[in-house]
């Protein structure tokens, strides 16, 4: 098992600090959701947790070792990433694309093997993309394509998997499908998962652990029942809301309060 930890992490973008002295721990074997308003630094944090962004200060450690001191392929065998905008080469088939997830397991003297074939097969099965294996990625729908990209990350067979807004541009049914898939992965393989997610309600439902960010720092961290409250929503989004138990899951359900379409007695309660 692998533990990913950020310690006093400062990340700069164009000389401007976006994440400032942040410390957080991605608990092993759990699903962690990183939430926050636009531009709060949550995607930047995810980039810092992988090696996409070099810290200006502080350390990101995987099992106690600085990720920037590890050989790139060795790191990629433990820590996987599904970025926000991956691109599929023209005319590539699903199976070929998923096979590229095996890159860190191959080397100069270790070419494609039966083990790689097996890993690709498992990834295709787990994501329900086996029947798409021979198709061109260009022909797929948005939901199918996202499942294929998750399969690429699964083929990498890492103990930790980070996903940057994996549900963007998907309809509600496909959002749920993707999150179910990731939860399967967590429960069946014990993969540690961290996801940057926009939708607070889905995050609260699917998370074991929530990291709520504001202005590049952690505003709250813990189980969704303890963390996701009306005060937190006000603090990080500047939005009034009601938080009640989700009738389906019992997790916190956030009901936003805007200026319109709100009953009179609710409006009176707004401070």
């Amino acid at each position: 098992m692998a533990v990913l930890e950020a310690c006093n992490l400062t990340l700069n973008y164009h000389q401007r600090s976006v994440v400032d002295g942040l410390s957080a721990r991605i608990p092993e074997g759990r699903v962690t959701m990183i939430v926050g308003a636009n531009a709060c630094g949550k995607s930047t944090l995810l980039r810092g947790l992988t090696r996409l962004l070099k810290p200006a200060a502080g350390v990101v450690a995987l099992d106690g070792r600085d990720i920037h001191s590890l050989p790139a392929r060795e790191l990629a065998r433990t820590l996987g990433l599904l970025p926000q905008h991956p691109t599929a080469p023209d005319g590539i088939t699903v199976r070929d694309l998923v096979g590229r997830g095996r890159y860190p397991h191959q080397g100069f003297f270790r070419s494609w093997s039966a083990k790689d074939d097996a890993a690709v097969q498992r990834a295709l099965e787990a994501t329900g993309t086996l029947e798409l294996a021979g198709r061109d990625v260009d022909e797929l729908s948005g939901g199918q394509r996202q499942r294929v990209w998750i399969a690429v990350a699964l083929a990498q067979e890492t103990e930790v998997l980070l996903l940057d807004e994996p549900t963007t541009f998907l309809d509600l049914a496909h959002q749920v499908e993707v999150l179910d898939l990731v939860t399967d992965l967590n429960r069946k393989r014990g993969t540690t998962v961290a996801i940057v997610l926009h939708d607070l309600n889905l995050a609260a439902r699917y998370a074991d652990n929530v990291i709520a960010m504001k202005d590049g720092a952690v505003a709250a961290m813990g189980a969704p029942e303890d963390v996701v409250t009306e005060e937190l929503v006000r603090e990080i989004f500047g939005l009034e809301s009601r938080v009640m138990p989700d009738p389906v899951s019992g997790t916190p359900l956030i009901i936003p309060i805007g200026r319109h379409h709100v009953t009179a007695n609710e409006l009176e309660l707004v401070p």
Binding site: A72, P83, D90, R100, G101
Partner: protein, 333 residues
């Protein structure tokens, strides 16, 4: 396989047929006797060994080099426009060669060396201009497009410089320099073929090595980094390899325009996906076919005027470039 057979076939066609025809048995006798120091066939031996054979060998080798260079650039930048001849690397080589000839009166290996240096200098300049400040923030194709625009600008400036030098040079020097503007196999010699072969013996394995990370870089910088590729390092290795390939080919025969640009997309039509070996073979096919056409068929149509290979490939490439521009824009919209 089919492509390799076609290259071999065309290689023999261009050696055997043409304005001076040699039979296949004669060819083997000539080569065998040349190697063993046996008797020469009067006339034929000289033409084959000093002209036709080195010409076909160099044509094949530069085709492979241009084809690989183009495919590496196009795949890395995910843009069919990003071939070394469009983004000014070939212009860098020819400008440096023309400067060496016209300004410094250089000849032979000096000119080739200058071409090599010119190509590398332009590549470094484009690389610096396109990554410089904005490194690490590029999303999607932004970095690639910037590189192409920088390259097109530099190519235009270099061409202006070459025109200026040509206009002021005396007529004999200008004739020497002309080959560096068109690309031609007329001055093919065994010396050049040897240098080229040596360079490819190093660069082709290098292309094989950088092809590994390239397969992952195609998925985007972030995904590649997540899969354990050191993106900047891998890209630098790719650029150096591709530029060196284009540069040694240009140093041997001048900037045979559009071969690098055409090889990748045509190879893709054949194989259904981007393939480096197929691009290399298609490159060789284009050069051999264009040279055969320019040297043997064009004179029949044009009252004996022999066209340099670069003129033919240019004539083929320009309409294709336009077609790509039109269709590429449609696809993105």
């Amino acid at each position: 396989m089919l492509l390799a057979t076609a290259v071999v076939l065309l290689f023999f066609v261009s050696v055997l047929l043409g304005s001076y025809t040699v039979t296949l048995p004669d060819l083997f006798t000539i080569v065998a006797n040349h190697l063993t120091g046996g008797a020469k066939i009067p006339g034929a031996s000289f033409i084959v060994m000093e002209n036709k054979l080195p010409r076909a060998v160099i044509g094949t080798l530069i085709g492979i080099a241009f084809g690989l260079a183009g495919a590496l650039f196009q795949t890395m930048l995910r843009n069919p426009l990003a071939s070394p001849d469009v983004i000014g690397i070939s212009s860098g080589a020819s400008a440096a060669a023309v400067v060496a000839i016209v300004v410094f009166g250089a000849s032979g290996a000096m000119v080739s060396g200058a071409a090599l240096a010119g190509a590398l200098a332009v590549a470094a300049l484009i690389y610096a201009m396109s990554t410089g400040k904005l490194r690490g923030t590029s999303r999607g194709n932004a970095a690639g497009n910037r590189l192409i625009l920088a390259g097109v600008g530099i190519a235009a400036a270099l061409q202006a410089m070459v025109s200026f030098l040509m206009a002021r040079a005396d007529i004999r020097t200008a004739a020497d320099a002309l080959v560096w503007l068109n690309g031609s196999l007329n001055s093919a010699t065994w010396d050049r073929a040897g240098v080229l072969l040596l360079a490819l013996a190093v660069l082709m394995p290098a292309a094989g090595v950088v092809a590994g990370p390239l397969r992952v870089l195609e998925l985007g910088d972030d995904a590649a980094a997540g899969l354990g590729v050191r993106v900047n390092r891998a890209r630098l290795a790719l650029v150096v390899t591709a530029v060196s390939l284009a540069a040694v080919a240009t140093a041997a025969a001048g900037p045979v325009s559009f071969v690098a640009f055409l090889a990748g997309p045509i190879a893709r039509r054949f194989t259904g996906k981007a393939s480096l070996p197929a691009s290399a073979l298609v490159g060789a096919l284009i050069v051999l076919a264009a040279d055969y056409f320019g040297a043997n068929l064009a004179p029949l149509l044009l009252d004996g005027t022999v066209l340099p290979v670069g003129v033919i490939t240019g004539a083929l490439g320009a309409p294709f470039l336009l077609w790509l521009l039109v269709t590429a824009n449609r696809k993105e919209a």
